[in-house]
Symmetry: C2
Subunit: 336 residues, 2 copies
Amino acid sequence: MAATLHDVADLAGVSFKTVSNVVNGHPHVRPATREKVERAIAELDYRPNLTARGLRKGRTGAIALAVPELNLSYFAELASFVIAAAERSGLVTLVEQTGGDRDRELALLRSPRLRMTDGLILSPLGMRQEDADALDVPFPLVLLGEPVFDWPSDHVSMRNAEAARAATEYLIASGRRRIAVIGEYEDEVFGSARARLRGYREALEAHGIGYDGRIVAHATLWHRADGARAMRELLDRGAPFDAVFGFNDTLALGAMRVLQEAGLRVPEDVAVLGFDDLDEAAYAIPSLTTVDPGREWIGRTAVETLLERIGGGRDAAPATRLADFSIVERESAPRG
Amino acid sequence: MAATLHDVADLAGVSFKTVSNVVNGHPHVRPATREKVERAIAELDYRPNLTARGLRKGRTGAIALAVPELNLSYFAELASFVIAAAERSGLVTLVEQTGGDRDRELALLRSPRLRMTDGLILSPLGMRQEDADALDVPFPLVLLGEPVFDWPSDHVSMRNAEAARAATEYLIASGRRRIAVIGEYEDEVFGSARARLRGYREALEAHGIGYDGRIVAHATLWHRADGARAMRELLDRGAPFDAVFGFNDTLALGAMRVLQEAGLRVPEDVAVLGFDDLDEAAYAIPSLTTVDPGREWIGRTAVETLLERIGGGRDAAPATRLADFSIVERESAPRG
DNA sequence: ATGTCCGTTTGCATCGTTGTACGATCGTGA
DNA sequence: TCACGATCGTACAACGATGCAAACGGACAT
């Protein structure tokens, strides 16, 4: 169907190898020949078969990105950055969704679906420490998220605990004392939720505020609906709070919606602080104070790290790279 | 590095083709042999090289999806559905971002980047009628969006004009007469913006309401920031309006934010109606009345259509498939 | 005229897999 | 014991490209 090197060669009256040389910009090709070949290429609308090239070269020029769901805005924005960074390096990106499900994450690592790519950027959510062996894969792998696996692999993440601590201290500095949390996730032994909870507790402790489990609400996947549900639960429990720290923006936004349905004013009655600095956060009503986790840097760095691993040493020591964060002040939680 | 059929064959003491037969579930393999081979596969952690398989079979098992940006929630949610549908069919999805840029869309259609995939689902935004020739590509192609290209290709879309008309009539029925629009896009001769504007005008006309260009605001890419900018422009122009129809939800949400900054109440002073029914719309404050365009159906159907084209006739007549829409009533624009 | 050299072009093997055609082996019935 | 299907396994040739090494041809020096 589609034209091959041979077809072009026949038309141009040269050997197919010469066509290959032209296509690859090989230096020693006579201008006249080159032009002849290029005309034939144009006429037949020849495009190299990347599958064949990939087989021969051992590199496909594609990488895979696996995230829980593109529905979650954080991952959509992250994917956007990863794809853009990959494109700048001439790579295409294949996107997988794991649903944050442990089995699907494990299956992905073992399946041959990825044998078409040169490497994987994985944002694990359901895996546990005991699954660390599964990370011993025969292709380059970069992990996103809190690096607590006991396995030597490349990580790109942010200072989750420090950021959560800073966010909590921000709320404390603004005069809040009863700070509720949404997004705790007890099963997740290694992830961001755990690290953020740790940061939260450190901040409380540093300021002599006791930890009260009644104002800490659970959420597994971090959709708006989960934030809303968690907030209803907090309200039902009846323990008072004057601020809410959502472990991500969608949780915070879902919670903010329920607060306002309940007739509570944000920030007067309850301050709300999120995490991620989604585009959406700046346009919410009220606009959402949140932690900017350096998403763009994370996406870009993940691709760079993967590329280093693909290109160079299999055996260079695995690195952990951490993004800088900052707190973005907006209406939902004004600075003190 | 990674194990091949040959390695497995050596270990199992059979020919490499027998291993291939086992891997492919070929019927006539003695159970004893099969088991021997499977043990060797497990021991070597063999995974078929999909690149080689793709070359041999002429199918790679991957499709490409090209959207303007994953940053735009509509496309993120659409991509999520497409990837999920593809996965159910055993396909992986490669995601490209065009930025809605004409040149990049054209480049994508011509580049060899896609020769690694079995087909493409493209959501064009910058291309124009004169570029229709570029759609004559040597691989299966399904277009998303308003089907106005004068070129026979498969299309999956929705009834943009009807939906916009229904939305406008909804606002009219609720008592609004001065209905502003955000998202008009004059350069786009074929796309959703044009069709939605047509539906809007039809509704006005049907109810004897004059079209007033002063309350129609332009936007190219449909981010929240564009909606906010457009709303500021509308307010500056000073022409009165009692409703705003955003051509998508992010535009509407950006506009709603600016309305409230300007001290206008939604929906009392100005009703707001969006388009897309993003997850976000239900949690906005106030929640956003919007058009549900059947995104999930669109994503699923696009994959199905592409698969039919890949599998079967190159020459079956191109089909246009349209999703059903519905209007979701929420707080920002209550029914009359 | 011949040999050398360099720029240019070509042929062959190869990447890991599957399809086709055929050869080997087994169990069965005469 | 032998012939014969049925069953199982193997050899070989692709798929379309690249890397290597050798062949070609003309220009130049000798």
